[in-house]
């Protein structure tokens, strides 16, 4: 089955390792991604801070083009995912806005129906492969790994997940890979987004709170579902260590990197060497060895 794929700017920039792993895992699961040609930036949560109506035009152009190709669009960045959902929601609820956007789309020969579904690859994997299906494909179970899932804000807020999914349903993918699910209380707490770059003192604090909690919960890694969170949580660990005098070093894989490892895909195909905080198979072996004496 082929899905229309909306990469978003990150996946073509600093998060190419996330994209590599996404393609590799979809391929291994027999799913195909077809990139939406000529897609434009969704505007993230930034454009609307300056211009309101135009912000919806950005999403609408992508949705209108995707509608010509199928009934679904897949967005692996939770900011893109939320913005596309918000565009769909607002165009359905605000006729004045809809009229303006329709006019603008008509000026470039596009038409938007409003029927397209926006999905995150996590939803695709859970819906079309399922926990059992995934388990059946695991070649190298992540035995002994304590994995804390971190979802951040925008995958579950302000719009509900599709098909009645919950974050707890997503959590089940972790044991399916053979790993121990860490009950990570802060899994939907904000990482601060671009505050790490703009108001650093506050941004670092927000990231620190998450990393510290993950460490307390004895997680070996914190797995993310968004390239923005992924960068935010790994890039500032050094500065945070210096600022708070607390070593919070912890690998932050994108979720398809982790799935790919369990599926036995190569580290190169998954872009693991591109992570700022390395994640290697040795980690699993060490963690497993550490567990051994306790079991004996």
């Amino acid at each position: 089955m082929a899905y229309t794929y909306f990469p978003g700017c990150c996946m073509h920039g600093f998060a190419r390792h996330c994209q590599d792993s996404l393609y590799a895992v979809f391929d291994a699961l027999g799913l195909e991604l077809r990139e939406l040609p000529e897609w434009n930036c969704c505007g993230a949560t930034t454009y609307i801070s300056v211009e309101e109506n135009q912000a919806f035009a950005l999403g609408a152009r992508n949705l209108a083009m995707a509608e010509k190709l199928g009934s679904e669009i897949v967005a692996p960045c939770t900011a893109c995912y939320m913005i596309l959902k918000k565009t769909k929601d607002h165009l359905a609820r605000y006729p004045d806005l809809r009229e303006k956007i329709d006019q603008a789309l008509a000026a470039i020969g596009l038409h938007y129906e409003g029927k397209i579904e926006i999905l995150h690859p996590l939803e695709i994997i859970l819906r079309d492969v399922g926990v059992k299906g995934l388990k059946a494909k695991v070649k190298k179970p992540l035995r002994g790994w304590n994995v804390a899932p971190y979802y951040g804000c925008l995958i579950a807020r302000p719009y509900a997940l599709s098909e009645g999914f919950t974050l707890e349903a997503f959590d089940q993918l972790v044991p399916a890979l053979g790993a121990n699910l860490v009950d990570f209380e802060l899994k939907a707490r904000c990482c601060g987004g671009s505050l790490t770059g703009t108001i650093e003192e506050v941004g670092h604090r927000l990231v620190y709170i998450l990393l510290h909690q993950a460490k307390l919960a004895r997680a070996h890694c914190l797995v993310t579902v968004c390239p923005l969170c992924q960068l935010n949580l790994e890039a500032h660990q050094g500065k945070i260590k210096r600022r708070y005098g607390d070593d919070v070093t912890i690998p932050i894989p994108y979720f398809t990197q982790l799935i790919g490892m369990a599926l036995g895909l190569s580290e190169k195909a998954l872009g693991l060497e591109k992570l700022l905080v390395p994640l290697r198979w040795e980690l699993a072996e060490k963690a497993f060895a550490a567990r051994e004496p306790a079991a004996a």
């Binding site: 600093f14 454009y47 309101e52 035009a57 505050l195 703009t198």
Partner: protein
């Protein structure tokens, strides 16, 4: 302009700017601010409220009453990270996040924001880049914002840039979409601009040099 912590407790009717509430009510998400219970759920849920000068609850209350100056010069609106905790928890169905966006827009439109403050500069540069090439590139965006707000920060930021570069995660090339597609996009934005009443009224003056400071609230000259 009064510093926010010294705002007057009582305002005379003629000092209140009632247009503010009207503008927010006309914004998708802000329609129901008159039903705000002032319960404080939004501020309790907000992960940034402890750093804010006014909590989201207080901002909504002040918007309703017409305390425009205090609201648009607040530090709080720039701290909002669009996490939507407030919005999903508000018992009155108020899109608090959308109200925060609207307040940022008003502040940017009227040129009111702390000098050398990176949040609005980032937003403006982001727009420029998006309109120019249809997509955004993190590297050039960060570089432009740093040059305009705190060039000295380049000294502390380059190690991260280097680490990303070493791992092939820095994309210095152009990420633009094909020319015809970019023109389509710009055409769309123009049509919308024409239907909503022109471009921004005042361009943001930006000065290079000083470090960003949250407390340095000045009306841009």
């Amino acid at each position: 302009m009064a510093h926010p912590t010294f705002f007057k407790k009582v305002k005379y009717e003629k000092e209140l700017e009632r247009d503010l509430a009207a503008e927010i009510i006309a914004t998708p998400g802000g329609e129901k601010i008159l039903s705000c219970l002032q319960c404080g759920t939004c501020g309790s849920a907000c992960p940034l409220s402890v750093y804010m000068d006014y909590t989201p609850r207080k901002l909504i209350g002040m918007v309703r009453e017409g305390f425009k100056e205090e609201v648009v010069t607040s530090f709080a609106i720039w701290l909002c990270a669009s996490c939507y905790e407030c919005t999903v928890r508000c018992p009155s169905g108020i899109g608090v996040t959308e109200v925060m966006y609207a307040l940022k827009r008003i502040a940017i439109r009227e040129g009111i924001y702390p000098r050398h403050f990176p949040v609005p500069v980032l937003a403006k540069e982001f727009l420029k880049m998006l309109k120019g090439s249809g997509r955004t590139n993190e590297f050039w965006l960060v570089l432009r914002v740093l040059l305009k707000t705190a060039p000295m920060k380049l000294l502390t930021s380059w190690p991260l840039g280097l680490r990303l570069w070493q791992r092939g995660r820095m994309c210095l090339g152009s990420t633009r979409i094909p020319k015809a597609a970019n023109e389509d996009l710009r055409r769309m934005l123009e049509v919308i601009e024409a239907s909503t009443g022109g471009p921004l009224k005042s361009p943001l003056p930006v000065t290079v040099g000083a470090q960003p400071s949250g407390g340095d609230l000045k009306k841009a000259a």
